[in-house]
Structures are given as structure tokens and as C-alpha cells.
């Protein structure tokens, strides 16, 4: 097996609390994870489980209290802002909310050009690249001149994906990228993620509260609960045959779109209580 692209070791993250002499809030307790090149690792958990914090720590948006985050063999957890900026070529992000993750005052072209220009591309090269990116995420090329508000949620998420792809990163942190989308839109965006991975070999750290989504897109799945990894393993194994009781509960709690099967599952769940 190839060496991991991203390796998180004993990651602890604490947030200072407001108020005098209040102890900090520990969001992550010694988390261990790894992502291999071209692989999708799903992080699943409920609110407060710390799944988003892991993603933000990898992106340098959340503090690292102790432990390490190795990318390509290099510990990036204590990078300064300059080194962090140079990482933007390798690690990118797609956020949950397509309404707030795009600056509403900027055109799609400006949004997509931003990372390119930072990397020193000239305007012309950037605009060629933007046309290719829009095509890549199946948006019409005339989208470039418009503002985000002219697009639906799914389309905005495509823009966000295009921005993440702009620098051809090796890892994209996807923080609940489909949970704000309608069902049919979600399906199309998931298809797009898979298609891009096939084409570019990018690795995903895919964060979601929805086990079904994670199950669908991931090679491996980590289940988080209160800042700890309860279970980390092969997607099929975790979702078909969960070891931890919490994962089992999670699995049963999610209703399936079939009245007959759902009745059986409900009875199983209630019996388990």
C-alpha cells in the first residue's frame, strides 16, 4: 500500500472559553486518521462530534493543541501563515453551505480567479483555466460573469468545487458538501465528486452527518463521537457490520425510504433499547 497522503496523529484541539478562568473546551481527544492518495475517507458523526473540527484543523482554520497532522510526510499542524499559504496548492476545501461560502459580491470569475492569481497566473491564463474548470463541473461557460445569487444551491456548490479544483490539489476537505442540497441535487453533486476523483485522482476527506452519503462515497469510514474516533475502517465493514454500539444505533436511526423495511428497522431499533 502506498504511504498515506494525510496522517493525523493524536490530534487534540481545544477552544478557549469565554469568561474568566474557564477551562478550555476540548473538541477533539487524540484523534488518529489517515488518508491515502486518491482515496475517500468519510467522517461521520452527529453535531458536536468534532468531525468539522478535524477538517478545519487540517485546513489550518482550527487550532492544534497537541498531536500532529502530516501531509505528504511533513507536519503541517504548526505551519505559519506563509507556509500555510503555500499549502493551498495541495489542500483545498468545499464547505457545507453554498450560500455563504461564495462571496456574494464577487462574480464567479473573480471567485475562481482568486486562487489562481495568488499563485501567479496572469489574467489570460487564468481565464482559460476558469473556462475549463466550469466545464469540468458542468456549468455553462457564460456563468463566469455572473454573481452567485443568480445560481441555485447545487450550482453554487459546483462553483465551490471548481474553486477547490482550480489549483489541482491532492486533497480536498469536503465539509458536509451535500447536506444543504435537495435530494436530486445531492445525487448529481455526489456523481460529480466521484467523476472528478476518477479523472484526477484527488483524495477526499469527506465529512457528513449522513451515514448513507458517507457510505456511498467513501473507501473508508471513521465514526466520531464526542471528539473521539469510535471506529475507523473499510466502508463496507463499518456500515454493514458496525462494531461500536453507537454506530449501530446511528445506522438504525436513519429511516429508509421504504415503508415496509422501515417498519422492520424501527421495530429492531425499539427492541434494542
Amino acid at each position: 500500500m502506498s504511504a498515506p497522503l494525510l496522517e493525523i496523529k493524536d490530534l487534540v484541539t481545544e477552544f478557549p472559553m469565554k469568561g474568566w478562568r474557564r477551562p478550555p473546551f476540548r473538541a477533539l481527544h487524540s484523534v488518529n486518521l489517515d488518508v491515502k492518495p486518491g482515496e475517500t475517507v468519510g467522517l461521520v458523526g452527529e453535531s458536536g462530534s468534532g468531525k468539522t473540527t478535524i477538517g478545519r484543523a487540517v485546513l489550518g482554520l482550527a487550532p492544534v493543541t497537541s498531536g500532529s497532522i502530516n501531509f505528504d510526510g511533513q507536519d503541517i499542524s504548526r505551519f505559519g501563515s506563509r507556509e500555510r499559504r503555500s499549502l493551498s496548492k495541495d489542500i483545498q476545501v468545499v464547505f457545507q453551505d453554498p450560500y455563504t461560502s461564495l462571496n456574494p459580491a464577487m462574480t464567479i470569475e473573480d471567485i475562481l480567479a482568486e486562487p489562481l492569481i495568488v499563485q501567479g497566473l496572469d489574467k489570460r491564463a487564468a481565464s482559460d483555466r476558469i473556462a475549463r474548470l466550469l466545464d469540468r463541473v458542468q456549468l455553462p461557460s457564460d456563468a463566469a460573469g455572473r454573481l452567485p445569487r443568480e445560481f441555485s444551491g447545487g450550482q453554487r456548490q459546483r462553483v465551490a468545487i471548481a474553486r477547490a479544483l482550480a489549483l489541482e490539489p491532492r486533497l480536498i476537505v469536503c465539509d458536509e458538501p451535500v447536506s444543504a442540497l435537495d435530494l436530486s441535487t445531492q445525487a448529481r453533486v455526489l456523481d460529480l465528486f466521484l467523476e472528478i476523483q476518477e479523472a484526477t485522482g484527488v483524495a477526499y476527506l469527506f465529512i457528513s452527518h449522513d451515514l448513507a452519503v458517507v457510505r456511498h462515497i467513501s473507501h473508508r469510514i471513521a465514526v466520531l463521537y464526542h471528539g473521539e474516533v469510535l471506529e475507523f475502517g473499510d466502508a463496507e465493514a463499518v456500515s454493514e457490520n458496525p462494531q461500536s454500539p453507537y454506530t449501530q444505533r446511528l445506522l438504525l436511526a436513519s429511516p429508509v425510504a421504504d415503508p415496509v423495511r422501515q417498519r422492520q428497522r424501527r421495530q429492531a431499533r425499539l427492541a434494542a433499547l
Binding site: E46, R56, L59, G60, L61, R85, L87, S88, V93, D97, Y99, T100, S101, N103, P104, A105, M106, E114, P115, V118, Q119, L139, P140, A143, R146, R149, E150, F151, S152, Q155, R163, L167, A180, L181, D182, L183, S184, T185, A187, D191, L194, E195, H209, L211, V213, R215, H216, I217, E236, R249, L250, A253, P255, V256, A257, D258, P259, V260, R266, L270
Partner: protein, 626 residues
């Protein structure tokens, strides 16, 4: 003083502000446009003063004092024979120039410190906060007078100092906005994209504060001009420099001899003030309008208000839904339901017939619900399912008679025990709400009043609707809290909403909804905002309550899993219409409408992981912006 006033109101607009270009906003508001226009004309006249009048504003012939308006002196002369028109123009240079200077100083200083404090927070913020408090607490007029005594009455110096004194307003405004914007995802995205801090501040944050600052500047200009005129009026300004304030002061001295002298500087001040206020208000209103187009809530989209007709973002608009085509009643019949989609069962407790809900738009109504018919029997749970923009929530609100401002039932009836409750008086409706028909909302936290204890929020309607005494209502509320599975009802009763979890809050809302034994419960996405494990418990609770009381339930949801878990019957909505309605097993096993089939096939169940979910040819419905 009134403007410091508006800081908060303005700050609230930020999000809206950045969603539209500033220029188009100003153009979009006739009031703002006209007032800005008149201001600019006035400023142009002031700059072009030497071209407009041959007179020197500072000298005249005292033998020609206090002349009325005439051919030579258009607005007459003042008490030393100076031309009033010339003084208005040249005085405007000082008055408006001084105000501009004060505003420039205040905004540069306040915006800088506000940016720093808002972006960094922490100790810097605390220190700057303390400094602002100091500046606010010092009596401004005394500082101005002391400065004047110390360094002479130079209007530009005084206005610079006044700018420093006004900076805290800008500081607070900017800090508030920036600390909000700082946490916006697009700022995070910019950081991840490798942007440096100055670039982020310049490109992403300044844009956000631009419009609020312009509004605030317009309103605080009124204050500056007022204070400046006030100082001059009190004789505390520089009498040798023509300003509208010194003109007023002169008019006061001659109040009984030439009352007309008050008119022109007063008018000039009034026009400028009115223009500034109207400009600020106009821009604000324009932003407020755009703000009311809320974005969908966190996990699932429900357009809370009238969705605006927008440009479709793609060529792939399906035949079914050109959004521009729906602005008038009767238009847009492309979505066609399968037979039986308007089924109203016999003995329905609540029946909706041909419901049309619209919002005013241009020359008519934009319909968001078009000819919807359904009914729900006692003991039955009807699922109302659809994607964002399908009109399911609007339908629910229409049933409750609680459509947002502007929304109205354009056509159709909502019948409950033989009465059309869609057209009853507000008073009658209050008798029905809570007692006959109740509501469980989507977001538990935002649906409890944060300022009242939970107990009070439960007791208040019980006393009103059931006429219970305080003690009885309290006992009943505690019993209800126990019934919905809250372990320690007394503690929850005494808690404020922010002290309990989301799941618990949803139980409280359910307790409040079913407390008066309603015949119909309308639950709008009651579990969408909850974690899956909590969702399962809440669904169990709803099921139990429904079994116990036999109430009819209309469950609005986008989640087919929830529908499968809870509903007896289900109606599928698309673009304001019900396209299919059937018993739940039948619908899942044998969907007729292509839209239903598409929705069901979009689900992840039984799909092989890491394979395509949709065939490439599926209509790209998402491309229709709601």
C-alpha cells in the same frame, strides 16, 4: 445622536448589503437616487461657486445691508451687506467640507480600528473597546471647546477632532460586521485559497462593510452638520469663516430685524439633512428588501418568503419550470399531476381545495402554491413531500393562516369542521389556532422566544386558550413536558431556551403544540434540524402522540425516510403543485409521476457504493433556481 442609533440596524443589513452591488442598490431605490442626485447637484454648485456668483462671500457694502432678494443679490444681503447667495455657496464649502473632513477622519480611524478589533478580537479588541468607551464618555462639546481654547478656532482642526470623537461609532459598526464576516465561510475559503490577510481584508471584508458605512456616514453627517451649526449658533465657532452655522448665528442676532435671514441657511441645512437622511433610509430600505429574500435554512431549503423571480442560471431549464413564467395566476401549467393527485378523502378533518397562494409581484401575484387540493382524516398522517421551492411550507402556513407579510390565499378554500378557515377574521382564527389546529416548526431553537422561560411560553397559551388558572396551567404544562419524554420537567420548565438542547427544544415545541388537544397538527420538517438519533426519538414521540389522541397530522418534509417511517398517505409537490398523491406503500412501490420516480431514484439506498446515482440524461432539476 440619532445616528449612533442606527448602528445596529445597519449592521443587520450587512449580509444583504454584500449580496447586491452597491451601485445597483442605489439605482434601485428612487428615493436614494434622487437624494444622492440633489446632494451632488448642490455640491457641484458649491464647487462652482465662483462661476455662479460674482460676489465675495466675505465682503459687501454695509450701506447695502439687509436688502431683500433682487436682481443683483438673488437672495438679498446680510447685515453687513454681503451677498447671501454667495455666502450660501461659499459657506457650503466650509460646512460640507468640514463635515466631510470629520466624516473622513472618523471613518478612516473607526474603520481601521474596527477592522483590527473585529478581525483579531482578543486583547486588541478589549483595548480598543476601552478606548472607545473613553471617547464616548468624555463630554464632546467640552473637548471641542477646550481644543478651541487651546489651539484657536480653526474649523478644520475642530472638525478633525470631532472626527476623532465620532470614530467610536464607526469602530463599533465595523467591528460588529467584521466579527460576523470573519466567520463567513467565504473568508475561510479565501484563506484556504492562499490569500494573504491584507488581501482578505481588502477583497472580502471591505466589500461587506461598504454599504453600511455609506449609510452610517450619511446619517452621521447629519449629526456633524448639526453640531457644527450648533457650535456656531452658540457663538462658539469661528465667526470670520462663512458657514451655514455662522449665517444662522447672524440671523439669530438679527432675528427681529430681518427674520428672513434665517430662511436660506436654514433651508440649505434642511435640504442637505433631508437628502442625507433620505439617501441613508432609501439605501437601507433597498437592502432590507433584498434581505427579506432569505436563504434556505441550514440543512434543508425552504424559501421563507416569496421567492423572487430570478434569472435561470443554466440553459438546462426543464420544460416544467421556467421560473419567469409563473408570475401570473393561471400561467405555468407545465407541471401536470397524475390522476388522483388532488384527492380529498371523505370525513376529512381538514380539507384543502384548489388552494392558490401568491405574493404581490409587479402587476399581479406570483403564485407559490397553485391549485393544491388534499385532505386529512382523523387519525391519519399525511406526508407533504417535495424539494425546496415546491410550496409545501407555504401550503402549511396557509392552512394555519400564518403566511408571511404579503402572502395571501388568492383562491381556494381550507375547510375545517364545515367552516372555511381560510377567510375567518383574525379574532376567530386565534380561537382556532392552538386549539383546533396546531403547529410544530422546523428549527427548534429559533422557534422559542429566547427571552422568556420555557414554562412561561407553555403556560401563556394554555391560560388563554383553555381558560386555566395559573396553577392549573402550570400543572398541565409540567404534565405535558413529562409526556413528551423530558426527564426533569420542573427543571426544563424553569429554563431559558438557550439552556436546553435542540432535541429537547423540539420536544418542548411538540408539547406546546399538542397541549390543547388539537384536531390537526401541522408539523413542518419537525426533525430536519436534529441529529439522526434524536430524529428517530422525535418521530417515535409524534407517532405515539398521534395514536393516543387520534389527531390528524400533516407532515411537511423532504425526507422520504421520514415519510416511510411515519405517514399513512403522501402527497408529492413540485413547483407549487401536487403531482401525485397515494397511500404510502403504494407510492413507494409504484410511483407514477416521473418526478416522484426521479426523487425516489435519487436516494442512496440499495445503490452500489461509489457508482453513478443518476443516468446522465436525467433532467437537471436543480438548475432551476427557486
Amino acid at each position: 445622536m440619532s445616528t449612533v442609533a442606527d448602528i445596529r440596524a445597519i449592521a443587520n443589513l450587512t449580509k444583504a448589503a454584500i449580496r447586491q452591488s452597491l451601485f445597483s442598490r442605489i439605482l434601485g431605490s428612487p428615493v436614494a437616487f434622487v437624494s444622492l442626485g440633489s446632494l451632488l447637484i448642490l455640491i457641484a454648485a458649491i464647487i462652482a461657486a465662483p462661476l455662479l456668483t460674482p460676489f465675495d462671500p466675505n465682503s459687501g457694502d454695509i450701506g447695502q445691508a439687509l436688502l431683500g432678494p433682487g436682481a443683483d443679490h438673488w437672495l438679498g444681503t446680510d447685515s453687513s451687506g454681503r451677498d447671501v447667495f454667495a455666502r450660501i455657496l461659499y459657506g457650503g464649502r466650509n460646512t460640507l467640507g468640514g463635515a466631510a473632513l470629520a466624516l473622513a477622519v472618523a471613518s478612516i480611524l473607526g474603520v481601521t480600528t474596527g477592522l483590527i478589533a473585529g478581525y483579531h478580537g482578543g486583547k486588541v479588541d478589549t483595548g480598543l473597546d476601552w478606548y472607545t468607551n473613553l471617547v464616548i464618555a468624555v463630554p464632546h462639546i467640552m473637548v471641542l471647546l477646550a481644543v478651541r481654547a487651546a489651539w484657536g478656532s480653526n474649523i478644520w482642526l475642530i472638525m478633525t477632532v470631532f472626527g476623532v470623537l465620532m470614530a467610536p461609532g464607526y469602530h463599533r459598526l465595523v467591528k460588529g460586521i467584521v466579527s460576523g464576516v470573519r466567520n463567513e465561510l467565504y473568508v475561510d475559503a479565501a484563506r484556504v485559497s492562499g490569500l494573504s490577510l491584507p488581501r482578505i481584508l481588502g477583497r472580502h471584508i471591505l466589500i461587506a462593510i461598504r454599504a453600511p458605512i455609506i449609510i452610517f456616514a450619511a446619517l452621521s453627517a447629519v449629526v456633524v452638520i448639526g453640531v457644527q451649526a450648533g457650535l456656531d449658533f452658540l457663538g462658539l465657532g469661528d465667526a470670520t469663516v462663512p458657514t451655514w452655522g455662522t449665517m444662522l448665528n447672524e440671523a439669530m442676532v438679527n432675528l427681529y430685524i430681518a427674520p428672513g435671514l434665517m430662511l436660506w441657511p436654514g433651508l440649505a441645512l434642511g435640504v442637505v439633512n433631508a437628502a442625507l437622511i433620505l439617501f441613508g433610509n432609501g439605501l437601507r430600505d433597498a437592502l432590507e428588501d433584498s434581505k427579506s429574500t432569505k436563504r434556505p435554512s441550514r440543512r434543508r431549503g425552504i424559501s421563507a418568503n416569496a421567492p423572487k423571480a430570478g434569472t435561470s442560471g443554466s440553459a438546462a431549464v426543464p420544460a416544467a419550470g421556467g421560473s419567469d413564467g409563473d408570475t401570473r395566476a393561471g400561467a405555468g401549467t407545465a407541471v401536470v399531476g397524475v390522476p388522483g393527485c388532488g384527492f380529498i378523502p371523505d370525513e376529512a378533518v381538514l380539507s384543502v381545495e384548489n388552494l392558490n397562494v401568491g405574493y404581490p409581484s409587479g402587476d399581479g401575484h406570483k403564485l407559490v402554491v397553485k391549485g393544491v387540493s388534499f385532505g386529512v382524516r382523523r387519525g391519519e398522517i399525511l406526508g407533504l413531500v417535495g424539494e425546496s421551492g415546491s410550496g409545501k411550507t407555504q401550503t402549511a402556513w396557509a392552512c394555519l393562516g400564518l403566511l408571511p407579510t404579503g402572502g395571501q390565499i388568492v383562491d381556494g378554500s381550507i375547510t375545517m369542521s364545515g367552516r372555511d378557515i381560510g377567510s375567518v377574521s383574525a379574532r376567530e382564527r386565534r380561537g382556532i389556532l392552538g386549539k383546533k389546529i396546531a403547529y410544530v416548526p422546523q428549527e427548534p431553537m429559533s422557534n422559542l422566544d429566547p427571552t422568556f422561560k420555557i414554562g412561561y411560553q407553555l403556560v401563556e397559551p394554555l391560560r388563554r386558550q383553555l381558560g386555566l388558572s395559573k396553577a392549573e396551567a402550570q400543572a398541565k404544562a409540567l404534565a405535558m413536558l413529562a409526556r413528551v419524554g423530558i426527564a426533569n420537567p420542573e427543571r426544563t420548565f424553569d429554563s431559558y431556551p438557550h439552556q436546553i438542547s435542540g432535541g429537547m427544544a423540539q420536544r418542548v415545541l411538540i408539547a406546546g403544540a399538542v397541549a390543547c388537544d388539537p384536531a390537526v397538527l401541522i408539523a413542518d420538517e419537525p426533525t430536519t434540524a436534529l441529529d439522526v438519533t434524536v430524529q428517530a426519538e422525535v418521530l417515535d414521540l409524534l407517532r405515539e402522540l398521534q395514536h393516543e389522541t387520534g389527531m390528524a397530522v400533516i407532515l411537511v418534509t423532504h425526507n422520504f425516510g421520514v415519510v416511510a417511517d411515519l405517514c399513512d398517505r403522501v402527497a408529492v409537490m413540485q413547483l407549487g403543485k401536487i403531482v401525485e398523491q397515494d397511500a404510502v406503500e403504494a407510492l413507494f412501490s409504484n410511483p407514477h409521476h416521473p418526478y416522484t420516480r426521479m426523487l425516489l431514484s435519487s436516494g442512496l439506498e440499495d445503490k452500489k457504493p461509489r457508482t453513478r446515482l443518476l443516468p446522465a440524461a436525467t433532467p437537471v432539476l436543480e438548475e432551476t433556481k427557486p
